[in-house]
């Protein structure tokens, strides 16, 4: 039993990272109808920034904050320069565009001499520490992920319900004109959404860094956010969170109880099952469309 709880806790921690990446994907999708396949790479960039800043002498927390701010700026810039011109174009073109952005990000990071194709570790002030409750142990890295995710969710809830920009984002996800009624221009809103989404990706990257180390293939971990988003109903923020956490737990259980290799495909098997069994129930508009 204790073993199982331990397993679930570890799963929740990793699941929180999936959830955060999924959150960013769904945020952008709801506000701009763009499916961002580069979200995992944004996470990787955030992690690399944090590594670079700490190795330049910044303390962990300052590097964390700076990485998030820098990535927010990068997200807004990406929207302005690359995504805005293709707004309204068909989904395939945009999917290819974001895949291209992801490839570029990987390539550029690999091309930076100091970063290269090596694996880096992020120094944290709580490295090696852990929390104990009876027989349960939770490493400080995992605890940090769970706590930060919880705090971030609280902050996002306040933001979406208590600020004009947050309300405009919610309105826009229902109806593109919704934001205009709130007195926020769509262009500004899109930039803000991308900035927020990239900032969340950076947070996920910094949180994941002590657990998996920092390397150029981190972005591939981010791809698992898509199953998380689909399980949660692709389009719902709480759903994306729940989907990510469920996925983390399923993976960690599959890794323990099933043969080797099951862990790596668990997310994909689960998402295929969801897509096959409940394609309409979970996300499609159930009402018949007028032709």
């Amino acid at each position: 039993m204790i073993e199982f709880v331990q397993l679930v806790l570890g799963g929740v921690a990793v699941g929180c990272v999936y959830a955060l990446v999924a959150l960013g994907i769904v945020l952008v999708y709801k506000a701009t109808e763009t499916v961002n396949f580069a979200q995992g790479e944004l996470m990787m960039l955030g992690a690399f920034l944090a590594v670079a800043l700490t190795s330049a002498g910044l303390p962990y927390w300052a590097a964390f904050a700076a990485a998030v701010v820098l990535m927010a700026l990068a997200g807004a810039a990406l929207e302005r320069v690359v995504l805005r011109p293709v707004l309204g174009r068909p989904q395939f073109a945009i999917v290819m565009l974001t895949l291209g952005i992801g490839l570029m990000a990987r390539g550029l990071v690999a091309a930076v001499p100091e970063w290269g194709a090596q694996t880096h570790s992020l120094e944290t002030p709580f490295a090696g520490a852990s929390l104990h409750a009876g027989e349960l142990t939770l490493s400080a890295d995992h605890a940090m992920v769970i706590a930060t995710t919880a705090v971030l969710c609280g902050a996002l809830t306040l933001f979406f319900h208590g600020t004009r920009l947050g309300l405009a984002m919610r309105a826009a996800s229902q109806n593109q004109l919704g934001a205009c009624y709130m007195g926020v221009s769509l262009a500004r809103l899109h930039s803000a959404v991308w900035a927020l989404s990239a900032a969340i990706a950076a947070i996920a990257g910094v949180l994941l860094a002590p657990i998996t180390f920092v390397h150029t293939n981190m972005g591939l971990i981010g791809l698992k956010a898509f199953p998380a988003a689909v399980i949660g109903g692709f389009g719902s923020l709480p759903g994306a969170l729940a989907g990510g956490i469920v996925l983390g737990v399923v993976e960690s259980a599959a890794g323990f109880y099933l043969p080797e290799g099951a862990k790596d495909v668990a997310a994909w098997v689960v998402v295929l099952l969801v897509l096959m069994l409940r394609p309409a129930g979970m996300f499609a508009d159930a009402a018949p469309r007028r032709v």
């Binding site: 999708y29 109808e33 499916v35 690359v82 011109p85 293709v86 309204g88 174009r89 068909p90 989904q91 395939f92 073109a93 945009i94 999917v95 290819m96 565009l97 895949l99 291209g100 952005i101 992801g102 490839l103 570029m104 990000a105 990987r106 390539g107 550029l108 990071v109 690999a110 091309a111 001499p113 290269g116 194709a117 150029t216 591939l220 791809l223 898509f226 199953p227 689909v230 692709f234 043969p259 080797e260 290799g261 790596d264 495909v265 994909w268 098997v269 998402v271 295929l272 897509l275 096959m276 394609p279 309409a280 996300f283 032709v291």
Partner: protein, 336 residues
Amino acid sequence: MARTALAVAAAALLLAAPLLLAEYSLAQLSFICIYVVAGAGLMLLVGYTGQISLGHAAFLGVGAYTEAIAQARGLPFPVSAAASGLLAAGCGALVGLPALRLKGIYLAIATLAFGFIAVEVFARWEALTGGNAGMAVAPVVLFGHRLGEEWEFYYLCLAVAVGAMFALANLLRSPTGRALTAIRDAEIPARSLGIDAAHYKTVAFALSAGATGIAGALYAHRIGFISPEAFDILLSIELLTMILVGGLGSAAGVVFGAAFLIAVPQALILARELLPEGIARQSGLQPALFGLVLVLTVLFEPEGLNGLWLRLRSRARRGGAAPGRRRAYRKSERTP
């Protein structure tokens, strides 16, 4: 007239290539032929039927492993290559099942999932695939003759590529091809004209995967050693890059795209000699360049190299007159 002359010249060059090119360059040409076969398949699905697949590398893998395993068991090449195509087509029909109900992003994720699961199966079914250690693949033996020389294998690849392009052209001129493009352009009117969209989407997935599987059989021989990670998501993205950069919805785009895909790494090898050492040694150059080209294509040339070619040609002919009557299909013109 000019068209025929051009075609004859191209055919002569392709046939004479073994005399003109060094072994290394000929091997690259074989690669282009193999990518043309896979590209014809993917173009049919994405460019002409309007479906999306982020897992096509898996079909290439299914074909490659089938070929390697069948050859090791002593099956003759025509049989093993056909088996590669058929098995991949079967997988394609299976993956096409979600396509009947899923659209856009959901289909993309379903195919992505298939790609990841397939790579894991390659890695874990060790008795058959050799697992992560991979499998060595011997040269093709055709009718008792071992195609050990580069030029022999090149002619085989060329023949298959020409066959694939002919099949694609035949299909596009037939009722099946019209049904596929009708589904792409406007599915509801297509259905109300008697086209069973579910059936034709499955057919498109099966044919597409089948062609990619046959390409996989040749690919296995060309690289001589296959392992699971050779067929991962990055290869799927490369295949999509090929048809997007070549020009969606154009048969010529398949050839342009395949040539592009092979030319970039070669150009990089040349460029490395010119670049300062610090940059030249970096492994990230190729993905970065692919990514950049992908971004630039979507932003500035959605019809890809084929669109560029059509425009240059019409400008050369008429000094800037309108492009050819038949314009390539542009995804961007579709209403979402």
